[in-house]
Each structure stands twice: as C-alpha cells, then as structure tokens.
Symmetry: none
Subunit: 265 residues, 2 copies
DNA sequence: TGCGCAAAACGAAAGCAAATGAAAGTATGC
DNA sequence: GCATACTTTCATTTGCTTTCGTTTTGCGCA
C-alpha cells in the first residue's frame, strides 16, 4: 500500500506528495490521485498543470509522467544513477573504456550528458590531468571523486542540458588547447553524422570538436539511427567511436568507412 | 497531545512556540494556531508574516510550511554544511533584507559564501532578473528555486570557496553590466576594510566591486573586527552594509563615517 | 487494417465557504 | 499623552467543487 496519509493536507503538501509519488513510480494518474487525496479531478488537474508550468513534470492524457532531466539540478545531480536507468551498465562500460584513453598531463574536455559524466570515477588513476567542462554534473562528480584541476566554462545555464552554453561558453572554450574531447550525443547515423536537440547545444559541440586534438564519441547503441533535430557534425570529425556490443555490424562498417576507429565494449 | 501550554503568552513566546511546532510537524494552520493560543486569526497571520520576512518559514494559504533545509547536493560536496550552521538565522534574515533591494529587470551578481546564497529563495517574487555568479552553490540554489536567467562565470574551480576564480573568471566578469552586487566577506573592520583569505579570492571580489553599480555587503556581526589575511577593498567602496543587531554601535558609526549606509535586521 | 461508439478525461464557467488584507476600534502599559 | 498588542468588520481572493459541453481514448466490429 502506498497510501500512508489519506488525511487532510494543504495544497503544497499535496503537490509535494504527488511529486514524490511521481518520482517513485514514474507515472501518476489523475483518477487515482483524486481518490487518494479525496479531492476532485479538477483540482488534481490544476495541480498537475501548475507543476507542469514549473517544469516539474509532463502532463499527458490521464495523468502525468516524470520529466527526464530530473526535477532540478538537485536531483539531476544526486539521483543521477537511478534516473538514467536504461543502458546504464553499458554506459558505464563505455565510460570506463573511454577513461583508459586518458594519459598523464592530458587536458581533457568532458561534454554534458549521462554517459560522459560516468568517466569521472575511472580517472582516479591518471596523474596530473586537467578537466575542462561546461556541465555542472561533471563538475559535481569531479568535486566528489577527484583532486585534479577543474576548469568550468561559463555561460548561460541551460536547465535541460544542465550545462552552460552561449557566446560566453564558446569564447571561454577558445582559450584552451584541449588534448582529448569526450563527447556524448543524442543521436548519430551514417548520413547525418551526429545530431542533437537544439542549435545552442549543436553550436557548443561543434566548438568543442574544433578546439580538441582528439575526439572520442561515447554513444551507446540505442543512439544509432535515431534522428536528432539539428546537425552537429559529420562522423568524419570524430576520431574514436566507443559503443556497446548491441551496435549492429552494418553500423560499425559505416562508421569505419566514414573515418573514426570503432571500439566496442 | 501537542498542547502543553494554552495559557497566556507574550508575543515572542508565542512566535517561538509556533516555530517549534512548525519544526516538529512541518506545517501549521492559522485556524489551529489561533485556537491553540486563544488569539484571533489576524494575530496569527501577523506572526507568520513577520517570521516569513525573516525567512524562518514560508506562508501559504491556510498556514505555513517549514522552509526547506536547503540541502543542495553541491553544498555537501564542498563541506559547506558545517560552516552554514553558525549564525544561520541571522544570515537568513540578512539575506531576506538584501533580497528586498532587488528590482525587476536587475542583473545581479551573487558572491560565493554562505550568506549570499541564502538570498536565492527570497527572489521568487521579483520579475525578470538575471543572476550572475561564480559560485556553484548559488547556481544549484537558483536551479532549485528560481526560473530566472542564470549566468555562470567560468574559471578554475576552487574547492575551498566552491567557486570559480582566476583569469577566465575575471575576464568573463568584464563582459557584464551589473546593477547590484551582493558580496560576502570573511572579515571587515574600519581600518582594513574588507579582508579575506587568499589573493585569488580578493582579486575576484575587487573585480566584482569594480563591475557593479551598487554594492551590498552581507556580513553578520561575527565578521566585525576579525582580521583577514588579504585586503580586498576599503569600506568606502561599498554602498550598503547589511548586518544583524549584534553589531556594536561603534561599528555602525565607523561604517557610516566610511561611507556606506548601514541596514540592521 | 479502418470505422464508429461509448467511456473517460478534459477545459471553461459558475458557485461556495474559508482564508486573507486593510482599516478602524478597544484595551493595557510606559 | 503615545505606543503596543490585539480585536472586529468587511470587501476581496483563494481553493475547491459541481456542472456542462468538447476532445481523446480504448474497444468492438468489419
């Protein structure tokens, strides 16, 4: 029974309780919530509408679902492991393989994204590295696991990507001589190369690629042949693609033809 | 029964009792409190309004709720929680007073430090503000509480201050036209002005002061006549000093002579 | 597949009681 | 006297419900 308190609650308490339930179960239904809190469905819908407005959830017919980027920076940092759920073992394996490419005295750039951040705990062994990033979750992970030098690119904070973007970020990036870039992506295929969701993100990733001597793409097999909205770069710009064994053979062939080495973990 | 004392109490006693009950239960209701203390609902509402001003609780329709313990993950990374403890009620009151100076469309710069970060939850009311900061805990708090534009200054991450410093941070700062700066300090007195612990921090704060049209110093009374190591700026560079009522009268006199207005909360 | 229909969910509007803020009034104390 | 603490009064707002007409969904049937 997930029904400990059917009693009379204030509005915010009810909304907090809805959020909590949503966080636990992933979905909530208007009908159930109305019954559970002994209020009308109209009230529940108003609650959901208000919280959708704040970006805390996404409504759909019959109820609401959890928004993927997590509730806030707070949970996006703390609830990271639980959240990224699917493919998380593959992602960690890919990240571990990527970390093995890092050499002492490297200056590495780590992109925002759930895969690349997983590299951080695997970097404890490498001496005297400098990590540059525009992602706050990467910064938090570095702060928690490593003692190395950490440089943050500034810029306008984007909640959806939990990273900084825009002209300030681009300019800051231009100052560094990066030895290796570890890049994530929303989608990639042979025809369009890497694609992503917004122009700002795409612009940032392009600048990252241009600023780096060696580019590693960390992309689990689920990203293959998914079509993103905005083109980031052709596959030829990438030097290494790291993915998992579920990546089809034809994909591997297509990638190698386009240029990058392909490393399957 | 949570009703040990239905007897006649002074205002402050009643308010303390309300706070205590709030701390225990998480929520209190105007109707119940009025009954419990045998006063009118108007009086209770006045109590709650006064305590909300000081940041001790958050009002809502029908009553009030506890303000979140504000545990924003990033603070747990930087060992900030322990430092937070001391004088935290004063700090929040100072922060609440500082937040009242913010106007719609302001571009405000918030310094790293335990006091200034407390401002964030009080900024929900102000429309269309832009927050610039070099402090990761401020960024986390903004992400958790506000929907406004947030700009991060990049730079080399300093673990002790949990903020970014160095040439990149200084350069990023030079791009902005800041309307108000909310600054913390390690120590201040009449002779040396503001003082701090490292040259990097001092340099950053000096640049912040120079970049801002109006400078607010948030310093609880415990900072007065503590001697910091590095000079940051004379008191004359600051326009407003916000502190608590434990600041001695001679300090207030000295501050006013040096230039700044003095606001005691 | 595609179509049609009933149940469910939805948004907008109207109504109601509780809660609220502002203003004016009443004790009590220095 | 003035100040403080509290109260009553009253118009307004808030949170919630009911009602009603519309849209969406699931399911049976071809």
């Amino acid at each position: 029974m997930p029904t400990p308190l059917p009693q009379d609650l204030s509005t915010t308490q009810r909304r907090d309780a809805i959020l909590e339930q949503l966080q636990r179960q992933g979905v909530v239904r208007v009908r159930d919530l109305a019954k559970h809190f002994a209020v009308s469905t109209v009230t529940v819908r108003a609650d959901l509408a208000a919280m959708e407005e704040e970006g805390l959830l996404r409504r759909e017919h019959g109820g609401a679902v959890r928004t993927l980027p997590g509730r806030t920076l707070l949970t996006s940092l703390s609830g990271m492991e639980e959240r990224q759920g699917l493919n998380s073992t593959q992602k960690r394996a890919i990240a571990a393989a990527a970390a093995r490419h890092v050499r002492p005295r490297d200056i590495i750039l780590i992109d925002a994204g759930t895969t690349a951040v997983e590299m951080v705990p695997f970097l404890t062994e490498v001496d005297d590295i400098t990590i540059v990033t525009n992602a706050l979750n990467v910064a938090a992970a570095v702060g928690a696991h490593l003692r190395c030098r950490l440089i943050l690119l500034g810029g306008t904070y984007s909640r959806t990507s939990s990273s900084t973007l825009g002209p300030q970020a681009l300019h800051a990036l231009s100052e560094f001589n990066i030895s290796r870039l570890f890049l994530g992506t929303q989608a990639f295929d042979a025809a369009s190369g890497l694609t992503d969701t917004t122009t700002e993100i795409a612009q940032m990733k392009r600048a990252m690629i241009d600023a780096s001597r060696e580019v590693y793409l960390l992309a689990d097999s689920s990203k293959w042949e998914k079509a993103g909205f905005i083109k980031v770069a052709p596959l030829g710009k990438v030097h290494h693609v790291l993915s998992d064994s579920a990546l089809p053979a034809c994909a591997i062939r297509a990638i190698k033809e386009a240029g990058p080495r392909c490393e399957i973990v």
